[in-house]
């Protein structure tokens, strides 16, 4: 009897054991080792020393270079998030009004690229945004610009491409909020005399807010952790946190400093996620309580 009860209570742990072993051995241990690495002393000639220091963190937190790096990455991610909201909200509402067959097709068109390698998508943009690429030829022949716009190796280009890469996540998040929305409420508002703008602002938008916020958190964190796109489109001119980590590890070979920047990035992202989750909870307690 006791044996059966014991088996019952140990069953979930036995079932989770293989995955937990994999995760402790290959996630918890390497992450802890990286945290330790970030406190090691690094000397240009002799490499990583067995002595400990907080100098790497002092450098990241006080050096204006790293301050600018994190600020640039934050502003870039914020910009991408804002554009994704501005495009994602209307597009999701448009999708919702489509006939089911068309809706299915356009879901595949909009979300399918998520499954195609980000390197391939970025290559497409590298060709499109080149000095003599199709976008610049179009802008020139339409007379919108006098001379080719420099998209490559500029923040503008990085933001455009990251928006393309991350927009599907925003649309998915808003779509799931929209599924919970009662379409009749919007009809009621309209039939009671509210114009389309008032209906959108006072009825539809507040109900979409949870979806927009969770989409914003996803897009912001993915933008701040993106590597291939800023590395290819931004190059050395637009350095962000991830490309700086890559350079410390594979070019300067200063692993302890690179590890310190990586840990700071992780902390910053966790802080943003937890902070915005609390904000969301507080706000919506006020709305729905």
């Amino acid at each position: 009897m006791a044996d059966a009860a014991l088996r019952q209570s140990s069953a979930p742990w036995l079932l989770s054991l293989p995955s937990l072993l994999l995760f402790v051995g290959l996630l918890a241990v390497p992450m802890a080792l990286t945290a330790v690495l970030s406190f090691h002393v690094f000397e240009g000639m002799r490499g990583i020393q067995p002595t400990f220091t907080i100098a790497n963190y002092v450098q990241v937190l006080t050096d204006g270079y790293y301050y600018e790096l994190f600020l640039r990455t934050g502003l870039m991610s914020l910009g991408v998030t804002a554009i994704c909201v501005l495009i994602g909200v209307p597009e999701t509402l448009i999708l919702a009004k489509m006939r089911p067959a068309l809706q299915g097709t356009f879901f595949v068109v909009i979300l399918g690229p998520l499954l195609i390698s980000v390197v391939v998508r970025t290559l497409g943009w590298q060709i499109l945004l080149g000095r003599q690429g199709p976008v610049n030829s179009a802008l020139l022949s339409l007379g919108l610009v006098e001379e080719p716009v420099r998209f490559l190796y500029s923040m503008t280009g990085v933001v455009i491409v990251l928006t393309h890469v991350l927009l599907p996540f925003m649309i998915v998040a808003i779509w799931s909020a929209l599924q919970k929305l009662d379409g009749q409420v919007a009809h009621a508002a309209r039939s009671l005399g509210a114009g389309p703008i008032t209906t959108f602002r006072r009825v539809v938008l507040p109900q979409l807010m949870p979806g927009i916020l969770s989409g914003a958190i996803i897009v912001f964190t993915l933008a701040a952790s993106a590597f291939a796109t800023p590395a290819i489109i931004g190059g050395r001119r637009v350095k962000v946190v991830t490309t700086a980590i890559y350079d410390e590890f594979l070019t300067s070979l200063n692993w302890p400093l690179g590890a310190a920047i990586a840990i700071m990035l992780l902390i910053a992202i966790v802080a943003v996620v937890l902070g915005s989750n609390r904000l969301v909870e507080r706000r919506f307690k006020q709305v729905f309580a």
């Binding site: 293989p18 448009i94 489509m98 690229p113 390197v119 952790s225 590395a231 692993w255 992780l266 992202i269």
Partner: protein
């Protein structure tokens, strides 16, 4: 009548939608079109069409071997992820135990951690363990980062499943394992298989983490492609990318047949 009016997209909405569709598809279309150029550099537009850059793939043995490495890596890591994630999904879906939420959060955590940070951690770990350049070690870390996808789809398949058939089998004398293999597994197979395909794609496409642990002998296709794109303009990248786009579309159809693409992409139950 008025209901119908607000239920339809107006001309401005449709124009917006068309522009957005162009924005989404343009980079993919341009890669495919540019791959048929006969010039020595990537150019759009071009005059002479040719299959030159497809023949060029066959003359680049390092791309071919990177491709097969990526395929083997994706196959092995998706399989390993399913092997560990399916029992974990059963534990989480069917048992109430202390630490259940923590186990779930732990197993989903690779989705929250930036892949650059994971890459750094694995690079350090591999160098300490002497695993640098080991294919097996790459399988382990790829499996780790795709487990959340397998777990999510398997969980969706297990939750809401009736236990009647399984209980009947058990009361008729089937062992736990037989009941699992003959009754439960076939019932959750669409979720497991869909998860496997999604894991395969995620592993195959992964570049940010892999770039840190890839060595000349263990370079995956996206990493090889990244190096060629970031440092030189090489038209063979467009033909390789076209092959990858076509391959992904084929996989998308497979995924759609197995579980439904909407379930995978939107997470609908």
């Amino acid at each position: 009548m008025s209901n119908k009016r607000i239920d339809q997209n107006g001309p401005i909405a449709l124009a917006f939608h068309v522009l957005l569709t162009v924005f989404i598809l343009a980079p993919l279309v341009v890669v495919v079109v540019a791959s048929f150029s006969d010039k020595d550099f990537i150019s759009m537009p071009f005059d002479g069409a040719s299959l030159r850059w497809y023949r060029e793939i066959l003359d680049a043995p390092e791309l071919i071997s990177a491709f097969w490495l990526s395929i083997r890596l994706a196959f092995a890591s998706a399989t390993l992820a399913a092997v560990v994630a399916v029992p974990a999904a059963l534990a989480i879906a069917r048992h109430r135990f202390v630490g259940r939420d923590a186990v779930m959060a732990f197993l989903m955590s690779p989705m929250m951690i930036p892949h650059v940070v994971l890459g750094v951690a694995f690079l350090r770990f591999f160098s300490i363990m002497g695993w640098t350049g080991s294919f097996f070690a790459m399988v382990l870390v790829h499996a780790l980062i795709v487990v959340p996808f397998s777990l999510r789809l398997t969980l969706a398949a297990v939750i809401g499943l009736e236990r009647d058939a399984e209980n009947a089998a058990r009361s008729l004398g089937a062992s736990r394992f037989v009941a699992f293999r003959r009754i439960l597994l076939p019932l959750i197979m669409p979720g497991v298989a869909g998860g496997w395909v999604l894991c395969f794609i995620q592993s195959f496409d992964e570049v940010t983490m892999t770039i840190f642990v890839a060595t000349p002998g263990t370079t995956t296709l996206p990493v090889a492609l990244y190096h060629r794109i970031a440092f030189l303009s090489d038209p063979v990248t467009t033909s390789v990318s076209t092959v990858m786009i076509v391959g992904t579309v084929v996989f998308m159809f497979a995924l759609d047949r197995i579980v439904g693409l909407d379930k995978v992409l939107i997470g609908k139950k």
